[in-house]
Amino acid sequence: MDFALNEDQEMFQTSTRQYLKSKGGLEIPRRYMDGEVNILQDMWHGLAQQGYLGVNVSESYGGLGQGSLSLVPILEEMGRAIIPGPYPETMAVAVPLLEAYGTDEQKEKYLPEIVDGKRKLTLALHELNGEIAPANIQLTASEGDGDYTLNGTKILIPHGDVADTLIVPVRTGGIHSEYGISLLLVDREDANVKIQEQQSLEQTRKIVRIAFEETKVAKQQLLGPKHAGWGALQFAINDLHVALCSMMVGGIDRVVEMANEYGQTRMQFGQPIGRFQSIKHRIVDMRMDLESSRSLTYYAAWALENNADDMVEAIALARSFTSEAFVRTASDNVQIHGGMGFTWEFDCHLFLKRARALENYLGSSDDCLEIAAGELGW
C-alpha cells in the first residue's frame, strides 16, 4: 500500500517546475496572450530537450516508456503556470492512440517526431453545436483510390493554429450511428484547409475552426480501425480526461497558494485578512478541494495505467469533481483578492478563465456524473 508519486515522478515535478520557472512561469501565458506566439515553440523545444515529450512513448521510438502516472506531475506543473499549447492533446490523445492503434509506419513517422518536439498534435473533434455524440460527426471522408476527400467543418479545436497534425474523427460510413466514424491523421503540411481563430475569453488557449473543402488525405493516414473510430476515440478521451484533471489540479494548487499568500500579507483593519474566518475558512475549503481533486486524480491515473475495473468510474468522478473544484477555487480566489482580483494585472483571472475553458471540454460535470452512475450499474 503506497499512494504517492514515486521518486522518478517526484523528480519530474521538481524539474518541470524549475524549467517552467526558468522560462518565466506565469510570464509564459502572459506573453503568449500579448501576441508573442513564438514563446510556445520555444518552450516546446525545451520540453523536448528535458525529455517531457517522450514520457509515455515507447522506448523503441525514443521515449521513456512510462505510463499515465508519470505525466501527472508534469501536467500539474503546466497547470500551475497556465501553460499554452497542445501538450495534453499530444501526450494524452495522440501518443496513446498511436501506440495502441498506429501502424508501424505511423508510429515510425510520428512518435520520434513527437519525442523530438518536431510535431505537435491536437484533436479536431467538435462540429455543429459542440456536442460530443456520434450523430454530431458529420464531416465526410469519401474514399477514393488512394485517398479520402474531406468536406465539413470542425470547431473548438484547441491550439489548432500551431498543431502540425490534427486527429480528425470523420464519417466514412453510416449517418448518425457510432458505426462509420473513423479517425484520420491530417498533416497540416499536406492538407489544404482553412483555419480561423475563434475568439475566446481564455486567451492562453487558442481555439480554432477548420474548414475542410475537398481536402485530400492519403489512405495510410487512417488511424485505427475503419468505421470503428468512435471506440478508439473513447479510449483516448479517458487519457485526456486524466491529463486535464492533472492540469486542473496544478491550477488549483497555485490558486490555493495565491489565496493563502494574499491572506497572510494583505492588511485591512490592521489585520492580515487571513485572520478573518470568512477568508481563513474559505482558504481551508479551497485546500480541501485541492486535496480531494488531487487524490481522485492520482487514483484515476493509477486506474488508467493499470486498466483497473473501476477505471471509467474513477476517471468520471475525478473529472467531475476537479472541474467543479477548479471553477470554485478560482472564483473564490478572485473574491479573496477583492478589487485586485478583478484586475487584469493580477493573475487571478488567468486561472478563472482556464477553469472555464476546461470545464466542459469533452463533457460537462453533469455528463461525467451520469457516466459514473451508469458504471455503478444504477
Binding site: H126, G341, F342
Partner: protein, 397 residues
C-alpha cells in the same frame, strides 16, 4: 398587502413609457443596444442621453422641482428603475451626481455649493465621480491616506484613489481625504468637491478581468481645493459619506429588477441550448437548478418590496439594504456562472463567436465585481450581523 399601483403611480408609469418610446436612441427598443466601443464616442453618446433625460425631466426624478426634478415618491422612483431595466436603458452617465452628490448637496451643502453645482449635475454639464477607495483602504475604507493639507487659503491634496467609476469622464470629484491623523481613523476625514480639470489630477484606466476600462485609478499630486469646496464640517467627512450613501437606496431597486430580467434571459438560454436534440429546459437537473434560481430571485424581489414598505412606513432606510445588496450580487454572479456551465463546450467563446450572445461571457466576468464593489459580501455580512442582529464586532481595535 396590496401589489397594485395607485392611479397617480400608473399615470407616472405610462408617461415614462411613452417618453422612452420616443426618446430612447434609435433602434434601442428593437434590441439594437450596443454602446460605442470607443471610450470617447461612448462618452459623447452617454452625455447625449443624459441631456435627453434632463430635458424630459427624467434625470433626477426625486429632486425638488425648482432644481429640475419631479419630487417623485419612493414608489415612483421604484417604478422608474423598473421601467429603465425593462427597456435596458443606457446607463446614466452622471449617476454619481444625480443619485448621490446632488441630493447630498441639497441636504447639507452651502448655498454657494448649491448654486455652483446642482444645476450642472442634472443637465449633465458636469459629470461627477466619487473618490473613496484607495490601494490600502478597500474594505477598510476608513483607513484612507490621501491627505489634504491647508497651505494658505488652499487645501493641497496628495494621494491615490482606485476603483473610481466614470473618473475618465468626470469634471468633478466627491473626494474623501484625511485632514487629521491624530485621532481614531474614522475621524479626521474631510469631504471635498474637487475640480478634475486641473493639473494635479490624473486618471488612469484600470484594466479589469473583462478587459473593460470601467474603473480608474486617480492620482492627486498637489491638487488644489478651497474652503468653500468642503462639504459639511472639517474632519466630519465620515459622517458626510454616510449621508451620501443613504441616498443610494434606489440602486437596490435597479439591481433587484435587473435580476428578474437576468433570470428570464437565463431561462431563454436554457430553452435555446440543446443537448441530444432536446432543449436543456427539459433536462430534469437543469429545470431544478432554474426553479431554485427562480425561488431566490422572487425572494429577492419580495424582500425588496417588504423592505420598501418598511421604509415607507417608518420613513427611514434600514440595514436591510445590505441584505438586498449582498443577496442580489451573489445571486447574479451565480446565475451568470450557471449560464457558463450550461453553455457547454463553447462556453468561453465570445464577441462575434459567442454561441448565443457575448453578453453572457462579458457579464459573467463583470459579475465578479458585483460581490466586491460597494462593499464586499463579507463586509455586508458584518454590517447585517452588527447593525441588524446585534452581534459583536469581530475584532477589537
Amino acid at each position: 398587502m396590496d401589489f397594485s399601483y395607485s392611479a397617480t403611480e400608473k399615470a407616472f408609469q405610462e408617461e415614462l413609457r411613452a417618453w422612452l418610446e420616443t426618446n430612447l436612441p434609435t433602434g434601442w427598443m428593437d434590441g439594437k443596444r450596443t454602446l460605442p466601443k470607443d471610450e470617447k464616442e461612448k462618452g459623447i453618446f452617454l452625455r447625449d442621453w443624459q441631456r435627453k433625460l434632463y430635458e424630459g425631466k427624467w434625470a433626477g426624478i426625486s429632486w425638488p422641482k425648482e432644481y429640475g426634478g419631479r419630487e417623485a415618491s419612493l414608489i415612483e422612483q421604484v417604478i422608474y428603475e423598473q421601467e429603465m431595466v425593462r427597456v435596458s436603458a443606457p446607463p446614466v452617465l452622471n449617476i454619481i451626481g444625480t443619485a448621490m452628490v446632488g441630493p447630498t448637496l441639497l441636504q447639507i451643502g452651502t448655498e454657494e455649493q448649491k448654486n455652483r453645482y446642482v444645476h450642472k449635475i442634472l443637465n449633465g454639464e458636469e459629470i461627477w465621480c466619487q473618490g473613496y477607495s484607495e490601494p490600502n483602504a478597500g474594505s477598510d475604507l476608513a483607513a484612507i491616506q490621501t491627505r489634504a493639507e491647508k497651505k494658505g487659503d488652499r487645501w493641497v491634496i496628495n494621494g491615490q484613489k482606485v476603483w473610481t467609476s466614470y473618473a475618465h469622464y468626470a469634471d468633478q470629484c466627491f473626494l474623501l481625504a484625511r485632514t487629521d491623523n491624530s485621532g481614531k481613523k474614522h475621524n479626521g476625514i474631510t469631504a471635498f468637491l474637487v475640480d478634475m480639470n486641473q493639473e494635479g489630477v490624473e486618471t488612469k484606466p484600470i484594466r479589469s478581468i473583462d478587459d473593460n476600462p470601467i474603473f480608474n485609478e486617480m492620482f492627486f499630486t498637489d491638487a488644489i481645493a478651497y474652503d468653500e469646496d468642503i462639504v459639511g464640517e472639517i474632519n466630519e467627512g465620515w459622517k458626510v459619506s454616510l449621508i451620501l450613501l443613504s441616498h443610494e437606496r434606489v440602486g437596490v431597486a435597479r439591481r433587484t429588477f435587473a435580476i428578474q430580467k437576468q433570470f428570464e434571459e437565463l431561462v431563454d438560454l436554457a430553452k435555446t441550448l440543446q443537448k441530444n436534440g432536446r432543449s436543456l429546459i427539459k433536462d430534469p437537473i437543469v429545470r431544478q437548478n432554474l426553479t431554485r434560481f427562480r425561488a431566490r430571485s422572487r425572494a429577492l424581489l419580495m424582500n425588496y418590496y417588504r423592505h420598501l414598505t418598511n421604509i415607507i412606513r417608518t420613513g427611514r432606510p434600514g440595514p436591510e439594504g445590505s441584505m438586498d445588496k449582498m443577496a442580489s450580487s451573489e445571486l447574479a454572479k451565480e446565475m451568470y456562472a450557471y449560464a457558463m456551465t450550461l453553455s457547454g463546450s463553447g462556453n468561453v467563446l465570445w464577441k462575434e463567436d459567442a454561441i448565443v450572445s457575448s453578453d453572457w461571457q462579458e457579464n459573467y466576468l463583470r459579475s465578479f465585481g458585483f460581490t466586491i464593489e460597494g462593499g464586499t459580501s463579507e463586509i455586508q455580512k458584518n454590517i447585517i450581523a452588527e447593525r441588524m442582529l446585534g452581534l459583536p464586532k469581530d475584532v477589537k481595535y
